[in-house]
Amino acid sequence: MSNPNASGWKPGSPVSADSFSGPATTTGNRALMLEEPLIFETGSLDRTGVDLTFPGQMDLAGVDAAAPVRSEPSASKLGKFARKEAIGLPGLTEPETVRHYTRLSRQNYAIDLGLFPLGSCTMKHNPRLNEKVARMPGFADVHPLQPVETVRGALEVINELAFWLIELTGMHSVAMSPKAGAHGELCGILCIRAALEARGDARKVVLVPESAHGTNPATAAFAGYEIEDIPANSDGRVDFDALKSRLGPDVAGVMITNPSTLGLFERDLKAISDAVHEAGGFVYCDGANFNAIVGKVRPGDLGVDAMHINLHKTFSTPHGGGGPGSGPVVLSEALSPFAPLPYAARTADGTVHLVEEESADSFAQEHFGKTLQSFGRMTAFHGQMGMFTRALTYILSHGSDGLRQVAEDAVLNANYVLRQLEDVLHAPFAHSGPCMHEALFGDKGFAEGLSTLDLAKGLIDEGFHPMTMYFPLVVHGAMLVEPTETESKAALDQFIGALRSVAERAKAGDETLKTAPHYAPRARLDETLAARKPVLAWNGEVAPSGTPVPSEIGGQ
């Protein structure tokens, strides 16, 4: 492969780590890579970055500089609970605060810096229009319990987004309140349990294929079910015969991920659904990877009863260092009556109603002609509104043609990565057909003593965030690469070149990989020590006066 990088980087000839360990600096800093102490080490109890001049105390005219009216109440109402001791919270001034967090930010890899190929996590470009819209005061500065008449626009956002989610999935309704993907899984499983209980059917078992996300079995167990694994066939897909033979009157349903975490489309999903339904159970589909098929196929047409949609993945809301997410759950007609409160629904006259406990019974009677069967409430308010505005903005920006292109480009990019690397990295399911959104590799062929972890750390030195490691569990030393649709061919070629070179080093037994990364803000971190002797909070005193405490790190 030709060198795709104009800056002089050459695949296959890594620079020795030793040549980069220059002289130590007195501060511990290295040019633009700055060490940063904790706020507890530099802040103090009497320093603050907020100016406690409250509204009404500023006289812009300056003519009458009399002190602003400031009344004092006759008595405190805190009773005997008034705080007596200091809390121990350090403060910094505004410039110190901005610098602290700006310096910290520079120690993070992010999608804004480059390709972030975490399989199953779907890290794609975050359009900034979404951020602008979410901050409009009519969305950002409204209270969840404001009178319904004052939040019509917010309800329309929920309703409009709900409409497209139903349309894109071919389902019957959508519960908008789940706060994240795993919360949505719980919502779907609870709908299934409520539907079974409504017909007096106490089924106990949920079947989960071994390629499932770890949240799937955890969710079903949390909802009170026993979990049974279903094996994969040699293709990596769910073993339909094994599944079918396990179906029976004790099986509440199956949780199946499609496209799967092996990057494959479950061809038999419709047949699986039919078999599960025939046996009286329900089909939950983990929709974490919906971005690969949006606009191309509707899960409802494959017989799915419930599926969560990670808005942050498919419809691009920022992942923010681990969250917030948002996990609306689309439901089949059979499960719709059991959806949790609150929800928003459009009635025949076109108006949008917020259906809460107060209105739920009468609403169900009046508009659906049946009594309410909701399984209850999953969260305090209506869900992740700030994510809804972003997701709707994204859907409208892409439109009908763009959403389909998203799926096609995501799949094309993943297949390109798979085929460009299958000669150097073991690709256990490359024979199983095209991959969908992600390419799966294993560690077969690595030199003795070198692991997937070492390869990942080597990739950090090449300037990339590593792929998902050791997942799915069915592949030894698994590496799951999801490039997404927002990468250009040039960016993919550069990544492929880097991964190829690190893979070749892993196969050749390059020992320097064992101590990688060499150029990151930190060398390899001791995770065993962290778990064995957990230090989960800073335990020192905060300086009482404004004198900064010397930094433990900067002083070394």
Binding site: R70, P73, L118, N126, P147, T389, T393
Partner: protein, 455 residues
């Protein structure tokens, strides 16, 4: 399509490279019958920034923003001033567009922030350890109940909820308990000037795994946490304290100091904003380090790197779903990282000095509001004690009054009828919240409007 960098020429070259004649070859595993052709029904084709922004702005204008009205709503979501630098920092791409810090060597920014956040929350709550955030206060409350059940090893099944726990929080716990065999005791609050701690204590027995008490409670009153903690501990139960307004803890003693074993709450008030109910920030802490391995959610811990430098990693993941699967302490995967960052930055800007001054200002204005509202004929203030939120009785269904005041451009508070629709005794009560964003002139506007409606 400005977010998609591949050109048609790229696509052609890449299809050649993978050996496919067309994109449909890559979707060959999708059954023919299930494939979609043609445009998505009703959805227009892609639109430019101007068009989309215009559409969304039109929708946003249909809402009455809190800043555009005298505003007095609380009940689990609070409006406070957020310094401009908070939003500036959370919009830095290195924070905004990063993922869960699975590769600690290149995620020290997020990890150090989470370590600082955990310490801030632990101190605020008077606890040893806090986790790296959860979805929101209500789900954190349920997770605390589930954790207490785990600690009781299923031998104790009774969960005692205070009558004055936020009804939506109570509803989340009741909903989840339907599926776990936990038995829930507790009902709706009675409108008494002080919480009925004796009645709550009377519900605690040897079958009780935990007692859940909100502090300040949903009517704004301050329960005697220390007494309740003592009674719970005497019966071998854990006390779970729930706080929905963290600013209050700048003025009142922390739940941990008063004996709560698990403290959970909503962190939205600091840094996050109202956002029509989400995303919010679930806070979760334990007073005793020994309970750490039973905690749900992410934890960030301190360690060293190969060169001996201090660094941070996600730790104790053996509790988590990606390792333990169906035996995990919780199914939670994501946290509220970006909201935790907003909280932490705002808290750093405040510091002890700013937080206590902010709390004092909230309390001053709330006291003034209570005194002025009490002057209106037909209005009585219920609370003996409160921080920045209290309950008034107005002798009429407060839902109607709130709607009428909204027509006049005043967002007056949360009617208890909205919160407790099934309980007619509470319908003449209104929960009023006053923060530093409501000046004395706003309080006067509320009083004038209410007086007019009630006359």
């Amino acid at each position: 399509m400005r977010y998609l960098p591949l050109t048609d020429a790229d696509r052609g070259a890449m299809l050649d490279a993978v050996g496919a004649s067309s994109i449909d070859d890559l979707f060959v595993d999708v059954p023919e019958a299930a494939r979609l052709d043609g445009p998505i029904r009703g959805l227009p084709t892609h639109a430019g920034e101007m068009a989309v922004e215009k559409h969304m702005r039109r929708l946003s204008k249909k809402n009455l923003a809190a800043a555009d009205a005298p505003f007095f709503l609380g009940a689990g979501a609070y409006r406070h001033h957020v310094p401009a630098s908070v939003d500036h920092i959370i919009q830095r791409g290195e924070f905004l567009t990063a993922y869960t810090p699975y590769q600690p060597e290149i995620a020290q920014g997020t990890l150090q922030m989470l370590f600082e956040f955990q310490t801030q929350v632990a101190r605020l709550y008077g606890c040893a350890v806090a986790n790296a955030s959860m979805y929101d206060g209500s789900t954190a409350c349920w997770e605390a109940v589930a954790m207490a059940s785990r600690i009781a090893r299923g031998k104790k099944r009774k969960v005692v909820l205070s009558d004055a726990l936020h009804p939506h929080y109570a509803e989340v716990v009741r909903t989840m308990a339907k599926f776990t065999d936990d038995e829930i005791a507790g009902g709706a609050p009675s409108l008494t000037p002080a919480p009925d701690d004796d009645a709550l204590i009377g519900l605690i027995d040897g079958e009780t795994s935990c007692v859940v008490v909100q502090y300040p409670d949903v009517l704004g009153r301050l329960p005697d946490l220390a007494r309740i903690a003592e009674a719970a501990h005497a019966a071998g139960a854990l006390l779970i304290a729930v706080n929905t307004e963290p600013v209050a803890l700048g003025a009142i003693q922390s739940p941990g100091e008063l004996g709560a074993n698990i403290v959970v709450g909503e962190g939205q008030a600091i840094g996050v904003g109202l956002q029509f109910g989400g995303p919010y920030l679930g806070l979760f802490a334990v007073r005793d380090q020994k309970h750490v391995r039973m905690m749900p959610g992410r934890l960030c811990g301190e360690t060293v790197d190969a060169d001996g430098k201090r660094g941070f990693v996600l730790t104790l993941s053996t509790r988590e779903q990606h390792i333990r699967r169906e035996k995990a302490t919780s199914n939670i995967c994501t946290n509220s990282g970006l909201c935790a960052l907003a909280f932490s930055v705002h808290m750093t800007l405040l510091g002890e000095k700013g937080l206590t001054a902010l709390a004092a200002e909230n309390h001053r204005l709330a006291c003034l509001a209570a005194e002025r509202l009490a002057q209106i004929p037909g209005v009585s203030v219920l609370n003996e004690s409160f921080f920045n939120e209290f309950t008034i009785r107005i002798g009429r269904d407060a839902r109607d009054v709130v709607r009428k005041l909204a027509d006049d451009g005043v967002l007056a508070g949360v009617s208890l009828g909205r919160l407790f629709p099934g309980n007619a005794e509470l319908h003449d009560a209104l929960l009023v919240c006053v923060t530093e964003t409501s000046g004395e002139d706003d309080i006067d506007a509320l009083c004038a409007a209410l007086k007019e409606v009630l006359s």
